[in-house]
Amino acid sequence: MSVLSLENATLRYTGVDGGHPPVLASVDLSIDQDEFVVVIGRSGSGKTSLLNLAAGFVKPSSGRVRLDGAPVTGPGAERAVVFQDDALYPWLTALDNVAFPLRLRGFSRADRLVRARTLLDQVGLSDAAERHVWELSGGMRQRVGIARALASSPKFLLMDEPLGALDALTRSRMQGFLLDVWQANGVGALLITHSIEEALLLATRIIVLAPKPGRITSEIFTTFGRDHLAGTPLSEIRSSPAFRRLQDELTALIHAEEEGIAA
């Protein structure tokens, strides 16, 4: 089982004037391959920056990012990223988008299309294989994006607000879908969201990020996602007293932190 970790990681974007305050300060976070870690925090708290560090798009100014103990020096196929606005390639069909990571690794066309079809089946889009990106709805695009990320056989799936642009109904359906994908593929998940409800539904562990500088202020372990995978419908979970109570507590916690910053 793999482990992806940020160790005492600080990130400072170096602008023209040099001495910027850090965007992330001394972040310690270790994700196991069987976890679903959800990062929550308000806009500008450094969530995307944290994901970019984990993905290897940016390097920490100090501290380390490691995968199974080895330092991460850049992006890599074992940490596939799902973007907020899908980032699908409009010049490729849905199927070819999913096959893209396999193409990079030199699979023959026949091989990669077989595998891509299996993945499209898994996300329920077998019928849309030959469609162009602009012919897909927002929810379909995100599912293609997730299938594409899975095609690179990652150990970790890094998702930056993948459901942020979806309407409420599609979004709640996609939440169940994300849990299924997580369970079926044995990947560790790191997901960013603004929604406390979404965090509670999906996470095995919630990380609260406070801004200026971005740092982890709380860690909460939850089991609602596993309950759902064990058979409880999401709607039942959402309306359960335990869920409501935790939702209120988490909301209060985040608000209290904001007050603390204001003070």
Binding site: D85, P90, H132, S152
Partner: protein, 282 residues
């Protein structure tokens, strides 16, 4: 927004008014093509009026009929030892030869400028030097270097085509989305793979636009290039005709160039729709 008073038409067209034209609403206005055709008809009418009533000497402006007859005889018997088809063929060969050269040189150069600091540093001054120069200015030099044969003509046209190809390729490279590039990197793409699978397709719409601009520049240079020691070509044909004051052939030649350039434009649009369908969608 439009300012409108009860009972009076709006002073400015609203966004909906403009949209209606393209979407074909109930009060469908006259299609643009008809308006354009009407303009052309009116111009032809004025032209024939001017020449038939002798307002202008046929030496300066032959009648439309005379020009039509010139076109016919050009097609059948030709002018200065070559038929119209041969003149057109010679010119097209030069244009396409030059376009091939400009694309083979210009696209990689544009990729280098857009994708690498070093490439930009090296190539930018050369492009900026070349870009504002009128082709006629370096034509004599190119003739000294390459002789008066086909090579110098193609070279001059290609030089005129290069800057738009290079610059639009570089612009296209810079228009590649950071997410698209990062996605590929997170799936394990090498620098070269990112260039091939992400940057080049992202730049393609812009490269095609640049190609269209280059073709325009090519036609203007063609006439100049065929000034020197050509025995065939539309530019050469027009110039010889002008020297003998065969004005109807001059006008016929101009019309042929306009028609060919127009067909190019149509073809370019079809190619765009086929090659980069996503650039108009989304």
């Amino acid at each position: 927004m439009s300012i409108s008073v009860e009972g009076l038409p709006p002073i400015m067209p609203t966004v909906q008014d403009i949209d209606r034209q393209s979407e074909g609403d109930t009060s469908r206005p006259l299609p643009l093509v008809w308006i354009s055709l009407a303009t052309i008809t009116a111009l032809l009418f004025l032209w024939s009026l001017a020449s038939s009533y002798g307002f202008v000497s046929p030496l300066f402006l032959p009648s439309p009929v005379a020009v039509y007859q010139a076109l016919e005889s050009l097609a059948v018997t030709g002018f200065v030892d070559a038929t119209l088809a041969q003149h057109v063929g010679a010119s097209l060969l030069r244009i396409f030869g030059a376009l091939a050269v400009a694309l083979v040189v210009g696209v990689p150069a544009g990729l280098a400028i857009g994708a690498s600091r070093l490439g930009k540093g090296i190539l930018d001054p050369i492009v900026e030097f070349l870009r504002p120069l009128p082709p006629l200015a370096y034509l004599p030099l190119v003739i000294i270097w390459l002789g008066i044969g086909e090579a110098s003509k193609i070279a001059v046209i290609a030089l005129a085509m290069l800057p738009p190809v290079i610059l639009s390729t570089a612009t296209g490279v810079r228009s590649a989305s950071a997410d698209h590039v990062n996605a590929a990197r997170s799936f394990g793409a090498s620098r070269l793979q990112v260039l091939r699978h992400v940057i080049v397709p992202s730049a393609l719409p812009s490269i095609l636009t640049g190609t269209r601009i280059a073709l325009g520049a090519g036609w203007s240079t063609l006439v100049a290039a065929e000034l020197v020691a050509a025995t065939r070509g539309l530019g050469f044909m027009i110039q010889s005709a002008a020297q003998f004051l065969v004005t109807d052939v001059v006008i016929a030649g101009i019309i042929v160039i306009a028609a060919v350039a127009f067909l190019f434009e149509l073809a370019a649009r079809l190619i765009e729709r086929w090659l980069v369908p996503w650039s108009t969608r989304r």
